[in-house]
Amino acid sequence: MNPASPAAAMTNWQAFLFTFFDAKTMATYAPKIAQGFLLTVELAILIVISGLALGLFLAVVRSFRIRPLNWLIVFAVDLFRALPPLVIIVFFYFGLPVVGLGFEGFTTTWLALTLVLAAFAEEIFWAGILAVPKGQWEAARSTGLGFLGTLGWVVLPQAIRMTIPPLTNRTIAITKGTALGSVVAVAEILSTAQSAMAESANPSPLTLGAIAYIILFVPVVIAGRWIETRFAWKR
């Protein structure tokens, strides 16, 4: 091999650095992507709160076992679990204005992903409720505690503890799903990174976007683990 090859390698390496880690481009677009980051955080928090709350509510309603109501819940849940979230977002964004319910991209994405998370969360909570042994219901009812009291004080605390790991997974998945908002002009991380890339003709902003996602998810994963240990009881 002749000694020219290190130089060639350097060139490749420099090209790689320039493509993905160009300091100048990154410095230029970092503020924009930081804004996208904050918007993603805001969107994700809203989705997680409303999605989990709606999912829990639906699971509680389902536990009353009112037939027609349960058919409706199961149908809606299956629908929102089956459809790709992107399809739901696009459908809401372009379809709802036809019936006079036009929302901006942010609200549309929030609504669509809330319904998707609620659908998955309902199934998870419901499985948790079913997993609590029948004897727990019987013990509580035999002391005179009513249906809702038993559900609230005895069954749900156990069901929710069991469902924290799958719920954490869903929370992470749906937070990543906020990137889908980019198709309906929500200036979240991916969207800002993409437009920065187009503007600068350099992919380095995408690297910034990836870093932003890592910054976003590390705390979520840590929080999930913390909740798991915090609310675990000795078996």
């Binding site: 004897g135 727990q136 509580a140 009513g146 009291g149 156990q158 009881w233």
Partner: protein
């Protein structure tokens, strides 16, 4: 034996699971301060009879009157009546996410609506009564089976029930742990609690029961004082069952 007034009155009780009739017309009176002990082969309907007495199992027909209140009447608030009927289960069924104290306090707080301090005082007294004052802060998994069952007894006793139902309270316990639960039950009995016990602890029945019922195939075949049932049964089926038990 002094016969108090009738506390629990069962008439013509029938219960079917699908096509299978597990209770075929039960008539039974339990008097105040009486300990009625129910024996019989598995599948004889004894647990179902017990579970019908607080409507954990819905009877198919018949009447059950507890402390003057018709359990089956449409206007009866079952949750209100259940406060007066304590139940102890084979598998303890303690709430795993609560301490022993929490287990006993839950119904005091949420059913009887006692303020926290008062509920805690009653719960601690109940735990002391079953010999577990020092385990108040422990979770069920930190307790032995016998201790768990005594917490379950404390949970029922704390509500000051008129009658206690025991559904095979020692069947899930290791042999060396049975004694502590039976001692607790005997203490309850001596304090005058009315009790209905489904169990295989014949020694306890001999020592503590006022009356023993032998059930088979959904019917009460024979009843009488323990000496009669265990030593001089009148019915062939009772004799066969008692002989089988004694062989062990």
């Amino acid at each position: 034996m002094t016969q108090g007034p009738v506390l629990l009155s069962v008439r013509g009780l029938r219960k079917s699971f699908g096509a299978t009739e597990v209770l075929r017309g039960i008539d039974l009176d339990v008097h105040e301060r009486e300990l009625v002990f129910i024996i019989g082969p598995s599948g004889s309907g004894k647990s179902t009879l017990l579970r019908c007495c607080n409507r954990l199992e819905e009877p198919s027909s018949g009447s059950i009157i507890v402390d003057g209140t018709d359990l089956m009447a449409r206007g009866t608030d079952i949750n209100l009546l259940r406060r007066r009927i304590g139940m102890v289960f084979q598998n303890f069924n303690l709430y795993p996410h609560m301490t022993a104290l929490g287990n006993v306090m839950l119904a005091l707080r949420r059913v009887l609506k006692k303020p926290r301090a008062e509920a805690e005082e009653i719960a601690r007294a109940a735990l002391a009564r079953v010999g577990l004052a020092d385990k108040a802060a422990n979770y069920p998994t930190e307790l032995s089976g016998g201790q768990q069952q005594r917490v379950a007894i404390a949970r029922a006793v704390a509500l000051d029930p008129k009658i206690m139902l025991f559904d095979e309270p020692t069947s899930a316990l290791d042999p060396e742990l049975v004694g502590s639960v039976l001692a607790t039950m005997r203490e309850l009995r001596e304090s005058g609690m009315t009790m209905m016990v489904v169990s295989h602890e014949m020694g306890f029945a001999r020592a503590a029961a006022d009356r023993v019922l032998f059930m088979d195939q959904g019917e009460i075949i024979e009843q009488g004082p323990p000496t009669q049932i265990f030593e001089d049964p009148r019915e062939a089926r009772t004799r066969a069952f008692v002989q089988q038990i004694n062989r062990h």
